[in-house]
Amino acid sequence: MRILPPLSKVGVSGRGLVVTLPYLWLLLFFVVPFVIVLKISFSDVDLAIPPYKPLLEWAGKNSLAIKLDFNNYAFLFTDPLYVHALLNSVKVAFVSTVLCLLIGYPIAYGIARSTPITRNFLLLLVVLPFWTSLLLRVYAWIGLLKANGVINNALLALRLIHEPLNMLYTPFAMYVGIVYSYLPFLILPLYANLEKMDWQLLEAAEDLGCRPWQAFYKITLPLSRNGILAGSMLVFIPAVGEFVIPALLGGPNALMIGRVLWDEFFSNRAWPVASAVAILLLLLLVPFMMWYQSVQARESASAR
C-alpha cells in the first residue's frame, strides 16, 4: 500500500535529488555563513551578545533603517597592522610554496618514474601523515625543534654544536611546519600530471641533441606546468590564512593575517573588524582560486 505518491509524480527526479544535495550543503554551510560574516562586517561594535549592532533597525513611523558601516574596512587601511599582516601572510605563503615546489618536484618526479609497485608504496608514504591529526603532527615538531628536543640533543651528542640551536618560535620553525604540512598537497597533483608524461619525449629530445638536464628544462618542465600551478595553488591559498602552525611554531612576532583575525575575534571581541578582515582575505584569494580552477579545467581538457 502506497501512502506517498512516487517522487517522480511530484516532479522530483533522482538525478535532480543527487545534484541538489551538494548544492544544498554548500548553501547551508558556505553561502549562509558567508552572508552572516558579510553582514557583521558592516555593523558596529556593541557591548552585547552578540557583540555587534543589528544592521536593520526599526526607525518608527513605519520605516526600516539600514545602517551600513564602512568604518571597519576603512579602519583596516588606517591601522598599518592589518596591511602589514596581510603582506606578511602573502610573503610567508609564497616562500612556503616555493620551498614546497623545490622539495616536492623531485619527489613527485621520482614517484612518477618509479616502477608501479614502488610507486604505490611511495604514494602511501606521501599520504601516510594524513592518518594522524595535523595538530598532533605540529606538536611533534615542537618536540623535535625545542632547545632540549630531539634535533638539538642529537647534534649535541654528535658534538656538531656546543650549545642548543634556537629553532622553536622562529620563522624557521614556522616554515618547517608549513612546508611539512602542505607538501603532500603539492606532490599529489604534480604526480598526477607527471604520471601522464610520455617519457619517450625525453628520448626524442636527447636524440635531437639535448643533454638530460636540457631535456628536463625544455620538455618535462613546460609539460608539467599545469601540475606545478595546481599544486602551488593548493599550498598557497590555505597557507595565506594559516593560523595553527604560526601560532604553535612561529615566534610571537610572526604576524599573520589568520592570527590577527583570531585575536580580533576572541581577544578583542571586535567581531565587525574580524569579519572585515575575513572578507578582505577572501577577496584577495578569489583571483588565485579562479586561476586554480581554470588550470584544473585546462588540465582535464588536455587529458581527454
Binding site: 626524442a204 636524440d207 643533454r211
Partner: protein, 382 residues
C-alpha cells in the same frame, strides 16, 4: 622503385673491400637472463635502406636503440662512419631516430618541433628558418607550420616526425616501425614517398619493421631477425627466392614446406622423397647435405601450377606432380588462393593470377593436378 644508386650499392655489399658506413661488430645485449640481441654482426653501406625484419620481441628494436644510444651493448661495439660509438650519448651521435609513437612535443607547433634539433645545435636563426621551411615543403606540410601536433592527422604527424629527424642531416636515420600507425592505403603511399625522400637526401636509413611487405618495398637489403640473431641478410629477392632456413621461408611470404629425405644427391640435381607430399621432389641443382639427411623443400604458392588435366611430362617421370582435391578458395580479385588437400592429408597453398575474366573456374571439391618446375623448390637443411 627505380633506385638510381642500386647498382653502386649492389657492388658495395658484395665487395669485401667496401667500407661499411655502419658497422655492428659482435653486439650482444642482455636484460638480466634474457638475451635480447645475441652476437649480431652487420655491415650497412652508405645510402642503403636496410630493414631489420622480425616478429615482436626478436630484438630488432633493441638493436635500433643501441644505434641511437638509448641502450648500451653488453658486449661488442658499433661504428658509424668509422667512429666507435661506445659510450657516446644519444645527444652526441650523428644519428637521429624516428620513434614509433612519433614522440612529437605536444607543447610546440610543427615548426618548433622541426626546429628543435637545430636550435639545440645553435644553428643561426636565419638558417634554421630556411632549413625548417625547406624540410616542411619536402614532406608536404608547408601550410601546417603553426599547427600543434594534436591538430594533425596520423599521416601528417608521421611526416612531422620524419621532418624533425631529417632536418639535422643525420648520417644515419633510424626508423622504428615508421608506417606502423598508418592505415593500409596511406601506408602503401607513404612507402614510396619515403623511398623518394631517401633517394633525394641520400641519408642511410635503418628501418625496423615486423611487416614483411613494408620491408620488401622499402629495403635495399633485409636482415631477418629471430631470437636476437640475424638469421639471414640479403636483398629482398634473395630473402624471398633463396631463404636459408624454414624460418625465413615461412616468415617472408607464404610457402609450402615439405619434409623429406635425400634419395639421390648428385652435383647437378637432388631427389627428395617426401611422405608428407606422397611424391618425390626433383630439384635441378645440387645441395650440400649429408646423405639420407632430413631436409625440407620449400615451394612458393605462386610457383605451383594447377590443372584439371595431367600436366605435360616434366621430363622427370612422376616427380614434381601430385593430385589433390580443392578444399577452399579465396578470391582476392587480382589472384585467387586455393587450398588443395592431398591424399596424405597435407594441405597445399596455391595462388593463381586471375588473368581472364571468364576463365573456366576451378571449384570446390574438384580433383586437380599440382606440378612445379624443377628449379622452383628451395631445399633447406634447418
Amino acid at each position: 622503385m627505380a633506385n638510381s644508386g642500386e647498382a653502386a650499392k649492389a657492388v658495395a655489399w658484395s665487395d669485401p673491400n667496401a667500407r661499411a658506413y655502419v658497422e655492428i661488430d659482435r653486439v650482444s645485449k642482455s636484460f638480466g637472463d634474457f638475451k635480447a640481441v645475441d652476437d649480431v654482426s652487420l655491415k650497412i653501406y652508405k645510402g642503403e635502406i636496410f630493414c631489420l625484419l622480425g616478429a615482436s620481441g626478436c630484438g630488432k628494436t633493441t638493436l635500433l636503440r643501441m644505434l641511437g644510444g638509448f641502450e648500451t651493448p653488453t658486449s661488442g661495439r658499433i661504428l658509424i662512419d668509422g667512429e666507435d660509438m661506445t659510450g657516446v650519448p644519444p645527444y652526441e651521435r650523428p644519428v637521429n631516430m624516428m620513434f614509433q609513437s612519433y614522440a612529437l612535443f605536444p607543447h610546440m607547433n610543427v615548426e618548433q618541433n622541426v626546429a628543435f634539433g637545430l636550435k639545440q645545435d645553435r644553428v643561426p636563426r636565419a638558417e634554421i628558418a630556411d632549413r625548417v621551411a625547406a624540410m616542411l615543403e619536402l614532406v608536404k606540410l608547408g601550410g601546417f607550420a603553426k599547427r600543434k601536433p594534436h591538430q594533425l592527422s596520423g599521416g601528417q604527424r608521421q611526416r612531422v616526425a620524419l621532418a624533425r629527424s631529417l632536418v639535422k642531416r643525420p648520417k644515419v636515420l633510424l626508423l622504428d616501425e615508421p608506417l606502423g600507425a598508418l592505415d593500409k592505403k596511406l601506408r602503401e603511399h607513404t612507402q614510396f614517398e619515403l623511398i623518394g625522400l631517401q633517394d633525394k637526401l641520400g641519408v642511410t636509413f635503418l628501418v625496423v619493421t615486423h611487416d614483411q611487405e613494408e620491408a620488401m618495398t622499402l629495403a635495399t637489403r633485409i636482415g631477418v631477425m629471430d631470437h636476437g640473431e640475424i638469421v639471414q641478410a640479403g636483398t629482398p629477392s634473395e630473402i624471398y627466392e633463396f631463404p636459408s632456413s624454414k624460418f625465413v621461408a615461412d616468415f617472408v611470404g607464404s610457402v609450402n614446406i615439405f619434409e623429406g629425405k635425400l634419395l639421390e644427391d648428385e652435383p647437378e640435381y637432388v631427389r627428395i622423397g617426401s611422405e608428407e607430399l606422397g611424391a618425390t621432389i626433383y630439384v635441378s641443382h645440387g645441395i650440400s647435405a649429408a646423405p639420407e639427411a632430413v631436409v625440407w623443400a620449400a615451394i612458393r604458392p605462386e610457383k605451383i601450377f594447377m590443372s584439371t588435366e595431367p600436366p605435360a611430362s616434366t621430363g622427370h617421370g612422376n616427380d614434381n606432380v601430385v593430385r589433390g582435391a580443392v578444399q577452399d578458395i579465396a578470391y582476392l580479385g587480382d589472384l585467387s588462393i586455393y587450398l588443395v588437400k592431398l591424399p596424405t592429408g597435407k594441405v597445399v597453398r596455391v595462388t593463381q593470377p586471375n588473368t581472364s575474366r571468364h576463365a573456366e573456374a576451378i571449384t570446390w571439391e574438384q580433383q586437380v593436378y599440382l606440378s612445379w618446375d624443377s628449379s622452383s623448390p628451395v631445399v633447406v637443411t634447418r
